[in-house]
């Protein structure tokens, strides 16, 4: 018998032109891990929110159909009433943290649902241990890396021992090993405790090996619902990029272009004086795309910022030829102006013609007059890319450009970058499939802070 059921659910966000969900019917069984796939904006997160009763209670909008979780109709029972039975891990961990200490943060949900006081600390500690974050219990959340924070937020959901676990792109900030551990943990929860797991993911390769069932959403409609074997066939026919493993990692093409940036024996430490990089070196040539990979906290972003000139090394040297631009991990940081073309023109000394060309390059022709905040998350990603392309840099550095980006869009991005021989491109990424698809050379930054060309 299904633990949670959505029957003919349609939903329109307030002020939206088109429904986010259209007539979706799904049942979720205990012990089953269900993967929700689809392009950005196809309604994946909205479906999760419907099962958490956040839709319609928190967001308003027009809701029709019926969602029932553990016998509770979400039209009559709000998110707080479902908390504990349902637990949700949202996309951005920074926006869901309430307390300053990790242990208190994990305990917050337990306190809200009325867990006996004597049990709270033990359950919170146990949940932290389950995600390999027990050692973080006394730390300040502000001191954690994105990956560590994501694990803490996952622990906060697991501590509730929910019957339905909703994971919205839970691995977006995790390195491949941590991502694999998380997906395996979700599967183990389903197998051992009978938890129903509903998960969205933009790096579907691993979940496609471990999940039981796949839902595919297109423009808010359920285009596919079936077991994993059928899903593979269906995806291979209709959306092959969702089942392709990307390119061959490690392909090393020789480029004779001039050296655009060279980092020699660079070291760097932040204010706590712990070395993040120690004696690292990297050379980037015009016409090549280099992917920089490595586990969380290995110093990838630091190395990228050193290459871009945003940080100065403690020791060693950084030499650059021409102009470098750096795409931040957060596309929400490209919102200084009221029009997209003016925003993009900021880095091009106000040259609107260059800005419009850059917008067209990333597929945003016709969006010139739109306000950056009115764009969808995928469109914001593209706007941010246009903003760093418009200055026509000699060195283009992209920091996690595929976070939250669907596989089809990733393929477009890879094609765009591969077709650009006029500059050196450095891509920092956790997404090994994307690295393989886009890069001439993959550089792995090991925890020991040594660079090894692959």
């Amino acid at each position: 018998m299904a633990l949670a059921v959505a029957e003919r659910v349609s939903f329109l966000y307030p002020g939206a032109a088109a429904p986010a969900l259209r007539d979706v019917s799904v049942g979720l069984s205990p012990g089953q891990v269900t993967l929700v796939l689809g392009r950005s904006g196809s309604g994946k997160s909205t479906l999760l929110r419907a099962f958490a009763a956040l839709i319609p209670h928190f967001h308003g909008g027009r809701f029709s159909g019926r969602v029932e979780v553990a016998g509770l109709d979400t039209r009559r029972h709000g998110p707080a009433a479902l908390a504990g039975t349902v637990a949700t891990l949202f996309q951005d961990p920074e926006d869901q943290v309430v307390f300053t200490r990790v242990l208190n943060e994990v305990a917050f949900g337990l306190e809200n649902v009325g867990t006996p006081p004597s049990e709270i600390e033990a359950r919170a500690t146990s949940a932290l241990a389950a995600v390999g974050a027990e050692h973080l219990a006394a730390r300040l959340v502000t001191e954690l890396s994105g990956g560590e924070l994501q694990r803490v937020c996952l622990a906060a959901t697991l501590a509730l021992e929910p019957r339905l676990l909703l994971l919205d792109e839970p691995t977006s900030q995790l390195d491949p090993e941590a991502a694999e551990a998380l997906v395996e943990l979700a599967v183990a929860l389903a197998r051992e405790r009978g938890t129903a797991v509903l998960m969205t993911e933009q790096r579907p390769a691993l979940p496609l090996e471990l999940c039981d069932r796949v839902l595919f959403l297109e423009d808010g409609s359920l285009a596919f619902d079936g077991p994993i074997a059928e899903a593979r066939t269906w995806l291979a026919e209709r959306h092959p990029v969702f089942v392709s493993a990307g390119g061959d990692v490690g392909v090393h093409l020789h480029h004779e272009g001039d050296v655009v940036a060279r980092l020699d024996d660079v070291s760097f430490a932040y204010e706590d004086h712990l070395l993040v990089l120690d004696g690292a070196g990297l050379e980037l040539r015009r016409g090549e795309v280099v992917a920089l990979v490595g586990p969380n906290g290995s110093g990838k972003t630091t190395l990228a910022k050193l290459a871009a000139g945003l940080l100065e090394p403690l020791s060693g040297s950084v030499a650059r030829v021409g102009r470098a631009t750096y795409l931040s991990q957060d596309p929400g940081r490209y919102v200084f102006r009221d029009r997209a073309d003016e925003e993009v023109a900021i880095g091009a000394r106000g040259d609107l013609a260059s800005a419009r060309r850059a917008l067209a390059t990333v597929g945003l022709a016709g969006y010139e007059h739109r306000h950056p905040r009115d764009l969808s998350s995928g469109e914001r990603e593209r706007l941010a890319l246009a903003a760093v392309l418009a200055p026509d840099p000699d060195l283009l550095i992209l920091d996690e450009p595929t976070r939250g980006v669907d596989p089809e869009r990733k393929e477009e991005l890879a094609r765009l970058l591969r077709a650009d021989p006029s500059r050196a491109i450095l891509v920092v990424t956790h997404d090994i499939a994307f690295a393989g698809a886009v890069a001439d050379r993959v550089v792995s930054l090991a925890p020991e802070r040594e660079l090894a060309g692959v």
Binding site: A52, L54, F58, G78, P79, A80, A81, A83, G84, V86, A87, T88, F90, D92, E94, D95, Q96, V97, V98, F99, T100, R101, N104, A107, F108, G109, L110, E111, N112, V113, G114, T115, P116, P117, I120, E121, A124, T142, A156, E271, D272, A308, L310, R323, A324, T325, Y326, L327, D330, G332, R333, Y334, V335, F336, I346, G347, R373, A387, V388, P391
Partner: protein
């Protein structure tokens, strides 16, 4: 030490500094608090220390010029319309030192509170007023969140080769910062809702009982206030 008795002790010391009448006593209290703050992690302590000591130094510098008290005249300056003749006297100087020490002590007590106390536990100890205290705690956390957002926005500009310099350059950060904090607060509200915040029957994580050190801190706070009022 638990955060509530620690907060009471800091309050007691700050109150003693306000009640004390001798400059040396206030200076000793400020020095003790300065030592406490200096033991906090470097990256976190400097904004508080600069704020506390900077405002005390500003008070020390300005007070002799704006006060008009008799005493030995050390310096006579020009005559300014409305204000009159500027001078610095021994009484004005000693008053300035006293007030600067007082301000430093109170500011440093707040700095020690901000740097050392577990604010989460203060929220948990708030009992019936938990919702209000949690709102205050979240508002307090907004400041470092805004700092991080501002740093991120500056980085996004610098990543495009634009250096936000001067007042005008910084002013362009205001609008995206405000809009960003609104988005953040909505996301946080949604996450709190999903985690059952506001549900009836909430409990609190069990806290260890007060120890001898906690009782000593509260006693120390009372003694500090009494001493400040009667002897210091």
């Amino acid at each position: 030490m638990r955060p509530v008795p620690a907060a009471v002790l800091l309050f007691g010391i700050a109150a003693a500094a306000l009640l004390a009448e001798r400059t040396a006593s206030v200076a000793v209290l400020a020095s003790v608090l300065l030592l406490v703050c200096l033991r906090a992690p470097g990256a976190r302590r400097w904004p508080y220390l600069v704020g506390a000591l900077g405002s005390a130094a500003a008070l020390l510098l300005v007070t002799p010029f704006v006060e008009r008290l008799p005493g030995v005249i050390y310096w006579t300056g020009p005559t300014i319309p409305v204000v009159g003749t500027l001078d610095v006297t021994s009484t004005e100087l000693s008053g300035a030192v006293f007030n600067a020490c007082r301000l430093a002590a109170v500011s440093l007590a707040f700095a020690a509170y901000a740097l050392w106390l577990d604010h989460d536990r203060l929220v948990q100890a708030a009992g019936l007023a938990r919702r209000s205290v949690l709102a205050v705690a979240l508002a307090t956390r907004l400041v470092p969140a805004l700092e991080r957002d501002a740093a991120g926005l500056v980085e996004a500009l610098r990543g495009r080769g634009v250096e936000p310099e001067g007042l005008r350059g910084r002013a362009r950060l205001v609008s995206p910062l405000l809009a960003g904090s609104l988005e953040r607060s909505l996301n946080l509200a949604e996450a709190m809702d999903a985690r059952g915040f506001g549900r009836a029957g909430a409990t609190r994580m069990a806290q260890p009982p007060w120890g001898a050190l906690d009782r000593l801190a509260v006693t120390g706070a009372v003694l500090a206030i009494v001493a400040g009022a009667l002897w210091l």
